[in-house]
């Protein structure tokens, strides 16, 4: 297996996405939905992936799972997943070039997915237990009793009653369905769970409870979680680190505390400034002017430049590289050409 040859740059690294491009062929040209994503996910963290609708979050998540569907295709890039095969050795494998069969075996066993639109992900004609158990049987040698015991254990962790196992999806509330998908996702104790806007369809109170549960479970099982949503308030609550995506690119990565306290990229600043604060000054709720660009033709240079309040001459022609401007802080913006010292020049008026 050629994947054996990939050596892990550091022991904390779980997933290393390099210059990933996933495009959709359309009659009007290629929609470059994910176009040059560089991203590192560390072991045992909750990584929040933020960005407005259409920026390519779902395309990226499914791409990593090897589930890119026509007319989409992987144009280029790597997504190397490091998973321990024993106590001492770790195998890194490029998820994008794995043979279909091996990729299928990776899914759920190592990388579980809670898809967008959890209301409809369960087949309406099958009992809940069947839909949890089939994945367990597929990826393990557990006996019938062991598998059921595992299922009940996971259902208990998300606060589901045993009787739910015998029910059909339409008999469950939205929150219960969401819990089922979480129970199913943890049933094989995967290394990574990618949750794509799992709670957007739920009401705020239920969402709160489920988020907390998910967070606790991730911590207690030692699962890494990639949590995808455009809802910045959720990220503030959930994430350890935050990645801001814009127009098929990651434009900023920082710890969630730093990202909220002092966002560097003008797009991040706009996103964070537009979070409605309870009891806050309403006049401060500024959105980002202009519309998201079309993936059929990204703007030249920095893709954010047509909407950027701090646009400079260089932004129109030159693509800003992703730089580590401070330890653990990455940003792709011409405002930060070199590692910073002290406060960011762009964030004064936000404080």
């Amino acid at each position: 297996m050629n994947s054996q040859a990939i050596t892990q740059p550091n022991a904390q690294m779980l997933l290393d996405i390099k210059d990933l491009r996933i495009w959709y062929r359309t009659t009007r040209g290629n929609a470059q939905a994910v176009d040059g994503v560089d991203l590192v996910i560390n072991r045992n963290e909750i990584f929040g992936l933020a960005g407005e609708s259409g920026c390519g979050k779902t395309t990226l998540a499914r791409g990593v799972l090897g589930m890119t569907k026509l007319p989409g295709y992987v144009e280029s890039g790597e997504a190397i997943y490091y998973h321990p095969v024993s106590d001492s050795s770790v195998v890194g494998r490029d998820l994008l070039t794995l043979p279909a069969r091996e990729m299928r075996q990776m899914r759920w066993r190592h990388i579980a997915y809670v898809p967008q639109g959890a209301m409809n992900v369960l087949s309406p004609v099958l009992r809940i237990e069947k839909q949890i158990l089939d994945a367990i049987y597929e990826h393990s040698d557990l006996s019938k009793e062991e598998a059921r015991a595992r299922m009940f254990e996971c259902m208990e962790m998300v606060g589901l009653d045993r009787t739910v196992a015998r029910m059909y999806p339409h008999e469950l509330s939205g929150g219960m369905k969401q819990r089922v998908t979480i129970a199913a996702a943890i049933s094989l104790k995967p290394g990574l769970i990618i949750a794509d806007e799992p709670t957007t369809a739920l009401d705020v109170n239920v969402q709160q409870v489920i988020l907390q549960e998910l967070k606790d479970i991730a911590a207690s099982l030692g699962v890494t979680l990639i949590y995808v949503t455009h809802d910045m308030a959720v990220h503030a609550e959930m994430a350890d680190r935050l990645g801001i995506m814009y127009s098929g690119l990651i434009v900023e990565v920082a710890s969630v505390v730093e990202a909220f306290k002092e966002p560097l990229h003008p797009y991040s600043q706009g996103l964070i400034a537009s979070i409605p604060m309870i009891g806050g000054d309403r006049s401060r709720m500024v959105g980002i002017p202009g519309n998201a660009p079309s993936p059929l033709a990204w703007p030249s240079g920095c893709r954010f430049h047509p909407r950027c309040p701090k646009v400079m001459e260089i932004c129109r022609d030159k693509v800003p590289p992703m730089l580590e401007v401070a330890p653990g802080r990455f940003v792709a913006c011409h405002l930060y050409p070199t590692p910073m010292s002290g406060a960011a020049p762009a964030s004064e008026e936000l404080n």
């Binding site: 299928r104 759920w108 409809n120 087949s123 309406p124 998908t181």
Partner: protein, 344 residues
């Protein structure tokens, strides 16, 4: 009663369906009866005249004879009297009246002799066609990006446009006459003893092969195309993405999820097709001179034997209605959503 209903709400649903079933059958029976009486044709007159022509005699007292026959065929009195008489005979004695095509054999005896052949031939071919159609149709849907799927789809569309008699004709021509592989007429060789002996059974199977093949070829494309579009309409559904994310084998996703969800309408379709089989393949049965109901029907149509025609039509109505009643009664067991809807 009310307590029972509250305890088992599904009973109310069943009662409703059974009630509708009887009302519909009664209505269909009535409509059929009056339709045939209102068609301006006098089969008895025709019949007596043709007898006269055949034997080149003038039957003495032809009118008297006609009247006697009219009585036998229940054609005397007002329309209302005739209707009540027909119903009384049918319901009390199970008597559908005498037939013309094999006078004086009663219609029900003709039908009872023909039914086993039709049921044997059609149920086997329908089930084969249905299973094959589901399998091929879902495969075509699943591999919709591959050329196999296009080939299956186009061939099916082409086949669905070929009239059934052409298909039967080709089979008779090539497999029957040209290559002499299989018998093309009747249901068995007259030389064998009818009963449970090997020669007879072998002969029955050989004789049913071509008509069965014809029926499968005629109906297969429909099942393929409908299954394909049902499964395709499911593809992209979130639960299939989810099943794939679970790392299930593609075959399992196709059968356990995609096909399972398309199954409900197709199972209903199967039941209804089964119900309509007694009148289903008139043309093919007569082309292969197969002694089933279809053949009886086509002989009856030829001389406007309305008693026989009515008998077969009533049987078709009853069997279609029964099939759909069975579907309705079984649906709560198959589809969990209906069960809940009833409870609410």
């Amino acid at each position: 009663m009310r307590k029972l209903l509250r305890k088992y709400p599904v009973l109310g649903y069943y009662f409703n369906k059974v009630f509708t079933y009887f009302v519909t059958i009664f209505g269909a029976l009535t409509i059929t009866f009056f339709m045939f009486r209102l068609i301006p044709s006098n089969p008895i007159q025709n019949w007596v005249m043709s007898l006269e022509r055949q034997y080149s005699v003038t039957i003495e007292g032809g009118d008297a004879m006609i009247n006697r026959y009219k009585e036998q065929f229940g054609l005397t009195g007002t329309l209302w009297d005739q209707y009540v008489g027909y119903l009384r005979q049918l319901i009390l004695k199970g008597d559908l009246g005498p037939s013309f095509i094999a006078f004086p054999t009663p219609v029900q005896d003709l039908m009872i002799a023909a039914i086993p052949w039709t049921i044997a031939l059609l149920s086997v071919s329908i089930i084969i066609s249905w299973s094959l159609g589901l399998l091929i149709g879902s495969t075509a849907a699943w591999f919709r990006d591959k050329s196999v799927s296009d080939i299956i789809t186009n061939v099916s569309i082409g086949l669905s446009q070929v009239p059934s008699y052409l298909i039967a004709l080709f089979l008779v021509l090539f497999l029957g006459y040209q290559w002499k592989l299989l018998p093309t007429r009747g249901a068995f060789d007259a030389q064998y003893q009818i009963g449970w002996n090997l020669d007879f059974i072998r002969s029955v199977i050989a004789h049913s092969f071509l008509p069965a093949l014809a029926i499968v070829m005629v109906s297969l494309s429909g099942w393929i195309l409908s299954t394909r579009s049902l499964v395709i309409s499911n593809i992209g559904e979130d639960y299939l993405i989810y099943a794939e994310a679970k790392g299930l084998k593609p075959r399992k996703i196709m059968i356990g999820y995609a096909l399972r969800n398309a199954m409900l309408p197709q199972a209903t379709g199967l039941a209804l097709t089964m119900g309509s089989m007694v009148s289903g393949q008139l043309l093919i049965e007569s082309m292969f001179v197969y002694p089933g109901l279809g053949q009886v029907m086509s002989r009856a149509i030829a001389i406007f034997d309305y008693n026989t025609m009515m008998g077969i039509i009533i049987l078709s109505v009853v069997s279609v209605m029964t099939a759909s009643l069975i579907v309705d009664l079984l649906l709560p067991a198959i589809d969990p959503r209906i069960r809940t809807a009833i409870k609410a």
